[in-house]
């Protein structure tokens, strides 16, 4: 019985780091394979069986490349930006409950901590764009900030609605409240708020925007801004941004599963919880990929209009509606 808790934490940290790394690497493969299928082509096939070693080959290529700091760039911030990108994403995983037993830390302010970590990537992208002394980068940095400010608000309003419903900030606790059959999941909690599916859709849209995914990928809109904030990054500096993007997608989808889709609870009651959690998680991830390869990019003011003129009013309305419903019921 020597130091069981530190050992558990150590194992968990290693596990989370491995999970994030694997996800980041293999979601790239999934995305490329998926994009291939959507576009009637095969995707990667050459490296390994069905191209399964492609992410490793890519990582090897990126690692062997020099990270060039452009002349005139802010050398310190330029190097700091990718470093700031990844750790918050990994830390956020410590709070996510994968199953009843697979929880890193059950914080009683878990939801707030999660948002604190996952909002960090904005700063990293902004620094990257700003420090690289590239006009495309600066435009991208400005876009990222205003986009994230615009979408943090409806996201927070959704979260407040969910907190009012659950009465707790602890993620395992929120999942436990959704135990039982699938109609207990929050997305179907029509009794406490008839607009719950709408809230879920808003959450999903905000999540797409927060992770800078198409159709809201203003930060790296390749047809306008070349690669946006990442234009000047080479080698693993770029690789880290790339991986963190997928880590953030996983966090966003996991949060959607926890808040709305009953976390690890099974709709039919067989197989362990972690299996169901991952199934739901990857269905969400698949939808994110699907959306990206189907829709064109939105216009920037259209995106801000969507948030300020449509999403925020609806969110305030659903918030007040659930407040009234909770008071009445």
């Amino acid at each position: 019985m020597i130091a069981a808790e530190p050992l558990r934490l150590l194992v968990f940290v290693a596990g989370v780091a491995a999970f994030v790394g694997l996800n980041a690497a293999y979601l790239v493969w999934v995305e490329r394979k998926g994009a291939g299928r959507f576009q009637r082509r095969a995707g990667p096939t050459e490296v390994g069986y069905a191209g399964l070693l492609q992410p490793i080959a890519d990582a090897g290529k990126l690692l062997s490349k020099q990270m060039i700091v452009p002349p005139g760039a802010d050398r310190f911030l330029f190097r700091l930006a990718p470093i700031l990108m990844m750790p918050p994403a990994i830390m956020a995983f410590a709070i996510l409950p994968f199953s009843e037993y697979l929880v890193g830390i059950d914080l009683n302010v878990g939801l707030i901590a999660l948002f604190a970590f996952s909002s960090f990537n904005v700063i990293a992208v902004m620094l990257a764009g700003w420090s690289s002394r590239n006009k495309y980068g600066i435009i991208s940095a400005a876009r990222v900030v205003s986009q994230n400010v615009a979408y943090e608000i409806p996201m927070m309003l959704v979260i407040i609605t969910m907190i009012m419903l659950a009465g707790t900030l602890s993620l395992p606790e929120i999942v436990n409240q959704q135990a039982g059959a699938f109609w207990n999941w929050n997305v179907f909690a029509l009794a406490s708020n008839p607009l719950m599916p709408v809230t879920f859709v808003i959450f999903f849209v905000c999540m797409l925007s927060e992770t800078n995914r198409a159709p809201f990928d203003m930060a790296e809109a390749e047809s306008e801004l070349v690669a946006g904030a990442y234009t000047e990054y080479a080698g693993m500096g770029f690789g880290v941004f790339f991986m963190a993007e997928y880590a953030n997608i996983v966090i966003g989808c996991a949060l959607a599963v926890v808040l709305f889709l009953g976390g690890w609870h099974s709709p039919v009651g067989v197989l362990p919880g972690v299996f169901w959690f991952l199934v739901k998680l990857y269905i969400m991830v698949f939808v994110v990929i699907w959306v990206r390869w189907t829709f064109p990019r939105t216009q920037f003011y259209g995106l801000l209009n969507l948030s300020w003129k449509i999403l925020i009013p609806i969110c305030i309305f659903t918030l007040m509606l659930s407040a009234v419903m909770i008071k009445l019921v």
Binding site: A35, F38, Q39, R40, R41, K135, Y136, I139, A142, A214, P215, D217, A221, E222, S223, E224, V226, W293, T294, F295, P296, R297, T298, Q299, F300, Y301, G302, N305
Partner: protein, 373 residues
């Protein structure tokens, strides 16, 4: 202007943004110097000429028929229509009679080429708007056209199939069946394109009412083709200055008076349908006979000034040659559609946001070698 909720604050704080020559949205080596005020374009200056190849000069220092392959390389996406204009001008000058079968085959291959060119534009335009999948869908269908034309001409892109007085050779076996099958398969595909893209809400928000290029601007800069038809003027060389067998064929000139990016989009989509109609009619009427008329062994143009225009995929392509009776041209002038279509970008882009400027540029359907020649 009611287009944007916020407006550019004027020229106080601006920066110059170099769009190109290496930029994913310029589809080649076009450079645009943008003076930006934040996201707004205050001023756009086009710097063209990165792929200037002296095509006009080349036309002046070689025999008439040897310049023919060059014309297919000016706008590499509509080589058929370009070679048609050049053989047309020589036929007109020398009074060479082209057999009807050759004329019909010319129209079929030109219209196939027009569809394949519009498909490239369709994919690339959506790429400019950030949708990557339509490009692959478009290339899927374009591939079939390229296969058909490769079997016929031996080339996939820079065809040199027309000859002065007719065609290089008659249709290959199976050509008619292949084209008929393509037409049959392509109609439902066009419907699918419409469902996938034309009715997509994000797409429509990005193109409707944005990038207004009205008839006046088109006239000022000499824009032709889908640009001017998208501004409501039914100017189509196939109807305005009929050539080949187009007068005998029944087809509509696609027009849309809205003058925005969506109008140009709709015009091109409609043109693909009309091209299918033309191809079907030509296949039904395809006469038998030779594909090569009587042509003198050594081409010699009479003294004079001749011109011939065709409706290429991007607009009016006109070849003007001045002959002094020598075996080479005194002057070859190529009037290419993209130059006029691009020139108005400087005026039309003013006040647009960067992303809308790119979307508008995509709707111009630029081929850079066509601008620079």
């Amino acid at each position: 202007m009611e287009l944007y909720p916020v407006q550019s604050t004027g020229p106080q704080e601006t920066f110059v943004l170099n769009l190109g020559p290496q930029h994913p949205a310029t589809h080649g080596v076009l450079r645009v110097k943008l003076t930006m005020d934040g996201e707004f374009i205050n001023e756009a200056v086009i710097v063209a000429g990165y792929v200037h190849r002296e095509h006009e000069k080349m036309g002046e220092n070689r025999p008439w028929d040897q310049f023919l392959p060059n014309t297919g390389r000016i706008d590499y996406l509509s080589a058929m229509m370009y070679t048609h204009a050049y053989v047309g001008v020589i036929e007109r000058a020398c009074g060479i009679e082209v057999p009807p079968r050759a004329e019909y085959i010319r129209v079929i291959t030109s219209e196939l080429n027009r569809i394949s060119s519009h498909l490239v534009w369709w994919g690339a335009f959506l790429l400019d708007l950030g949708g990557m999948t339509p490009l692959l869908y478009a290339f899927d269908d374009r591939e079939k056209i390229l296969d058909i034309l490769e079997a016929l001409t031996g080339a996939r892109l820079t065809y040199c199939y027309y000859r002065v007085g007719g065609l290089a050779e008659d249709l290959n076996e199976g050509f008619v069946e292949d084209v008929r099958e393509f037409v049959k398969e392509f109609r439902p595909r066009l419907k699918m394109f419409r469902r996938l893209v034309s009715e997509n809400i994000i797409f429509r928000k990005r193109v409707e009412g944005i990038g207004i290029i009205d008839a006046e601007m088109c006239r000022k800069y000499g824009a032709t083709g889908p640009m001017i038809r998208g501004a409501g003027i039914p100017y189509d060389v196939r109807r305005a200055e009929p050539y080949s067998v187009y007068p005998e064929l029944d087809f509509d000139v696609a027009v849309d008076p809205a003058a925005d990016s969506m109008a140009r989009y709709k015009v091109r989509m409609e043109e693909m349908e009309q091209s299918l109609r033309i191809i079907e009619q030509c296949l039904d009427r395809l006469p038998d006979g030779p594909v090569m008329g009587k042509v003198p062994r050594k081409l010699k143009l009479p003294e004079g000034d001749f011109c011939y225009a065709t409706e290429a995929a991007r607009g009016r392509f006109e070849v003007r040659v001045v002959s002094t009776g020598k075996p080479v041209a005194h002057r070859v002038r190529l009037r290419t559609p993209c130059f006029g279509n691009l020139s108005l970008f400087e005026e039309a882009a003013r006040g647009l946001m960067l992303a809308d400027g790119i979307a508008m540029m995509g709707s111009l359907d630029l081929v850079i070698p066509d601008i620079d020649r």
